[in-house]
Assembly symmetry: C2
Homo-oligomer: 435 residues x 2
């Protein structure tokens, strides 16, 4: 039996309360796995949380007290946000504490700095809870797939966005209406930008990509497109063509570098990811040896996230007194082995596309469109052309293209939009076969 | 950088050749993760394998030479089978070697003995590749979900069986015919008993259950029922009722102990597991904190299995010179913390059921059947009663029941079969909602 491990928990909101409660409830089984007693030495919280039995806790209102507490071995940062959390973690590292955090924004934007500080002090930083809540996706990629050259990964890594898209599909509802409901249900924040514009997903994608490809964290290079412009009609046409629209974080290794992108994506309805509904998360990871794998579970919530926080605490507890070289490196690769790969700008990414346009109902329009696409090297893989109602002069035209480089498609779209037979802008959604 | 880790690979069949090839192809990325050079010091093979470049390998025909080789740190056992493999591993442990193995039968049947021997010598035994090929399911349960009291797990953990059931459903084919094709394709062994009667799945289930519940390996207590009696008509009726038939390994913690069972199972078509087709594997694991999670990927094959073998080698390499207490315990729980839980005999298991019977086409039969069930405390949840063709006197009657204890259902079935209005034996398939 190893010596007891004393943790200090900073933040007693949703994840903090879940962590305290699960540690208490499952104390016996957790200690039996860890091989040491995990003791909550101190908790820092701005106020008491009615979800937690506070009586047995040593509570402070000052989070920095935890970072300085000589009895604390591991600081568990659950306050969220960037500025104060960064200061807290650097202070704790400086005092020789190990770090467990659920803070995706902080790791994505300041992980390189934090890892360097931890390296210098010989402590570790664990962040399983930062990506996809309770799914052990970081451990799976970082350790479970360590034999592989990862080719790509694609994930539903924002539950709010997936809830909205699921409701739009199942009930034909509008984006705005479902978003309002998600806010009422507490899934979406008052400012939903982080969720629906893909920033939250981009934070998570950067972390997964760094571990997959052995590259430093480069949040500023992720291309991000949200779901606020998806219309029910596109969800319905996608369905008709055998596809679902999901908001995916995609990282892919290609000849000239690495793609990092978050955007709405048509995927074949037979893929496992296509049937991940509501607030659930799932990540597909394709390795050169293992082939496609998928990991599914709750991407948020008090106890699912606490599940990952505590798994990290157990990992840290096991190697607390071991030499740092025996620990798993932060990003799965030895820090000295990280390589700078070119992150492709979105213009150079190639993918397939769904295009919807409004065309005048007269002969030759499809031929004009097909010619413009063909001149850019783009072919049409599938097509829906609806007959006009008797009194309509404008008909929708829906195309799926083969893979093409984004800037070539953009050029073709400009030319098509300039046709007198096409009215209004073209709706374009990327499409990935995920094979 | 740690010192190089020297491995000896015993067995150069499918998995052995995959391991040698992936180690060579991905050498740079694997070493960058491991923090040490992984060197194939020796390979033992009965004969050369044309899939492998043998020229650079130090080959012996005697596997025991590897177990005795003083330059070998880690023995990778990939010969399969039980008797010789057990002897080899015990000899290697006795010589202070760490062990990586893909041998599910050996771990399931002799794991307790092997772990005790390893404990005594301070070496580790890793066996990710023993369950579900390339899916990092052992790592996920053992480490990723360490905060949880696991409530149940259910897995498609035999690719051959799943291929057969998928073909039967998609094409309405007979069991025997698909099995013959699976044998031609090389999915199924010449003696398919291990696959289709559930013994292979039982080996894997025992390992997963021990890690989930912290109990010693108890292969002899698994209830096993195969898929050879599943008929296309049952697959079709299940479909009509909104279910798929899958061959599942199920482990569940209930009030009086633990259920360990492998059998064909109706599951709702909306479950992620229901859409795992062909030779793919997937395991659902429900933890009290994390809720339901699922892990999906290739359950067999040279490189997927090698992916898990090498992940274990990397793990072992990282803690090769660490104190044993810093390593993850074999079953996730400290050996001293394993608890003996009662494994329930199948008679005491409760589950729901699909029942199909042939009834004389006359009034009152359903009422007789319902009364017998009701007298045993079993209610009918769904029903298909087909009208007779004009010239038929016998009609099929299909029922789904609520959950009931197996022995109560058995009693009810005997009584129903004794009715003069019921002809022939009743087909019974268990049903699990997996919620």
């Amino acid at each position: 039996m190893l010596k007891p491990v004393r943790i200090g928990i900073c933040g007693l909101g949703t994840v903090g309360s879940g962590t305290v409660n699960v540690l208490a409830r499952n104390q016996r089984v957790i200690n039996a796995r860890a091989g040491s007693d995990i003791i909550v030495e101190q908790v820092a919280a701005r106020r008491d949380n009615p979800q937690v039995d506070m009586t047995s806790l040593n509570v402070t209102r000052d989070i920095f007290e935890v970072a300085k507490n000589p009895n604390v071995d591991v600081v568990v940062e659950l306050i969220g946000g960037i500025s104060v959390a960064r200061e807290l973690i650097l202070e704790a590292i400086n005092n020789g504490k190990h770090i467990v955090t659920a803070n995706k924004a902080l790791i994505a934007e300041h992980g390189n700095e934090i890892f360097a500080a931890a390296d210098a002090k010989g402590v570790t930083v664990a962040f399983e809870a930062a990506v996809a809540g309770g799914i052990p996706i970081i451990k799976s990629i970082r350790e479970g797939l360590s034999a592989n050259r990862i080719e790509w990964l694609a994930g539903i890594i924002n539950g709010t966005g997936n809830f909205i898209l699921t409701e739009m599909r199942d009930k034909g509802r509008q984006f705005d209406e479902v978003l309002a409901e998600a806010q009422e249900l507490g899934y979406a924040e008052a400012d939903p930008t982080f969720d629906v514009e893909g920033i939250d997903a981009a934070h998570k994608l950067v972390i997964l990509a760094s571990m997959s490809f052995g590259i430093p964290l480069q949040f500023e290079k992720v291309f991000t497109e949200g779901i606020s412009k998806i219309e029910p009609v596109d969800v319905a046409y996608a369905d008709e063509l055998g596809y679902r629209i999901k908001h995916l974080g995609i990282a892919r290794r290609v000849k000239d570098g690495i793609e990092l992108r978050v955007h709405p994506t048509l995927i074949p309805e037979k893929r496992q990811l296509a049937n991940v509904d509501g607030v659930m998360n799932a990540i597909m990871v394709k390795g050169d040896a293992v082939g496609p794998t998928m990991y599914y579970g709750a991407g948020a919530g008090a106890e699912p996230t606490a599940s990952s926080v505590i798994a990290d605490i157990v990992d840290v507890a096991r190697t607390l007194t071991a030499d740092p070289e025996h620990r798993v490196p932060y990003l799965g690769f030895q820090q000295s082995s990280l390589s700078d790969s070119n992150i492709l700008p979105i213009d150079e990414v190639d993918t397939a596309y769904y295009l919807r346009m409004a065309a005048l109902d007269k002969p030759g329009v499809l031929s004009q469109v097909a010619t413009i696409l063909s001149d850019s090297g783009i072919s049409i893989e599938a097509l829906i052309q609806k007959e006009a109602d008797d009194d309509e002069e404008i008909v929708p035209l829906i195309l799926l293209t083969n893979r093409a480089v984004e800037k070539d498609l953009a050029t073709a779209i400009s030319k098509i939009e300039a046709l007198s037979s096409i009215t209004g802008p073209i709706t374009r959604i990327r499409l990935e076969p995920l094979k």
